[in-house]
Amino acid sequence: MTDDIRAAREGDWVEIEVKLLDPADRSANLPPETAEKPLMMWVKGFAEGEAAVGEELAVETITGRRVVGTLSAVNPGYYITYGSPIPELTHVGRDLRARLAAFRRQEAGLAPGTPASPGAPAEGGER
């Protein structure tokens, strides 16, 4: 992980933060919780000089635009995850497969517990 790097050198891939609109300049009719906040922007690019996090820095974005802002991260990563399985969903596959197998036995006029189609898994649909 390189997110803990606190300063950028020229040419580093970095993210900068820019305040686009002060609360007073924002659109009318916003809910109060939005209206009281500035409109903020983040964009990534190659550092045009040296700066510590929180200091002003110009970057050249990947399309070649020059944007000036405050250095917010050096080589920032993506830390989205799946997380743990959801307990309220873990039974779904098991329950539905069992239900499907029971339905197919019933449709085939077979007694509960008999496979609907011997040799094929009860839940296996053809394509």
Binding site: L20, L21, D25, R26, S27, L30, P31, E33, T34, K37, P38, L39, M40, M41, W42, V43, K44, G45, T61, I62, T63, G64, R65, Y78, I80, T81, Y82, G83, S84, P85, I86, E88, L89, V92, G93, D95, L96, R97, R99, L100, A102, F103, R104, E107, E123, G125, E126, R127
Partner: protein, 470 residues
Amino acid sequence: MASKFDAIMARRGEIMRKALGMDYSEFELSPIAFDYERMMGAHGYSLDEIVSIQTRAGVGSTPLLELKNLTDLVRSISEPGKGARIFVKDEAANLAGAFKDRRASVSIFVAKEKGYEGVIAATSGNYGAAVASQAARNGLKCIIVQETFDSRHVGQPEIVEKGRICESYGAEVVQLTVGPELFFHMVELLDVTGYFAASLYSSFGVSGIETLGVEIAREMEHLTGAPPTHVVVTHAGGGNTTGTARGLECAGATDTQIVSASVDLSGLHMASDVDFNRKSFTTGHTGFGVPFATWPDRADVPRNAARPLRYIDRYLTVTQGEVFYITEAMAKLEGLERGPAGNTAMTAAVSLARDLPRDATVVVQETEYTGAGKHHWSQLNFAREMGVEVRAGDPAENVPGEVIVIPERIEQIRATDFDLARMRKSYIRNALRNAPEGYAPTSDDIEFLAADTKSDPDTVEATIAELREG
């Protein structure tokens, strides 16, 4: 400041005209009506040419799969003789993983043809990935403007993933906090760069979806001997419904019922910094579905090519918990691990198919890729972190932003019909409001409003009279 914001917005018309490479004023007929079909055909490409553009772009001809396990499961909870056959168009097989590739492939082709150096799109959805991917193939520069974070800089995981994939395709991703002023910044970027506005709502993009409707009609004829009786479409901005329905019509499937479906997010404000990370869905929800259907021209083009009320026969809403349940079920029963967008329509299809006869055929017309951030486990874990309660129970108790209730049994999945008459009335109210004060609609306007709401002139006139009294 009589700010940067006002200065840019004052020049909005001129900037957009340059960026769209198209003058919409030539389609205007009156303060209310415009020539929709002429606008849709103005790009000059035939359906065959669009198919050819898409084939070269790695887009289209996705598999149409019959879901026999899901169908039998639905039959197991249906009345005797009920339980339609369910099919899905696996749009995740497109180049960048969603039907949005159909839109982007045509927009990027046009941008390249017209000689633009780059493209800009404002989107927090799969359209960003689609535009970035097609721009990469065509050597065009690409900027995607996203609403990504709340004011604490906490990102919606699905949008963070979409930002990642855009950067992976070489796009510049401009990420903003919550608010409609995103549009202002996009216009500012178009002005500075001179790039093409690859709007989701241009006729280029929406024409690109027509091929999906055509494929569905033809493939169902091949598989079952007839076009589908019902197509279920996840509905947000309206392009998906519009393009698919137009394609079906074009292939002669005029009896197919168009059923649009959205996740119910009623009670949440789309511009709220607090609600933003409590939605658990970034698209396919009523927060886009209702306002865009009832006033399509709120979009970033002068006239929106996506006009869903022209085509919708039924509009169903489902709850967040129901969609998560079906997303899990699709992976376990059908081997299809896909994202939330298509599974919204799939959830509605389960409810719909249950009430239809066994010989009816229901096609869910899209899937989308999934992965960390987009996955239903990511969303539910994130919802819990944001303080939303997640529990098992009766999905009727689901309250957007407060509690996500995951069904305990498949029987509990029941879509709700949204009142289309109310939506049509609301559309007509908006059309009148956007005309100059005191303007009296002509008979041509009435005809236009009837076509734009899949209604008839008498109903439109009655609605106008009612609105005037009320």
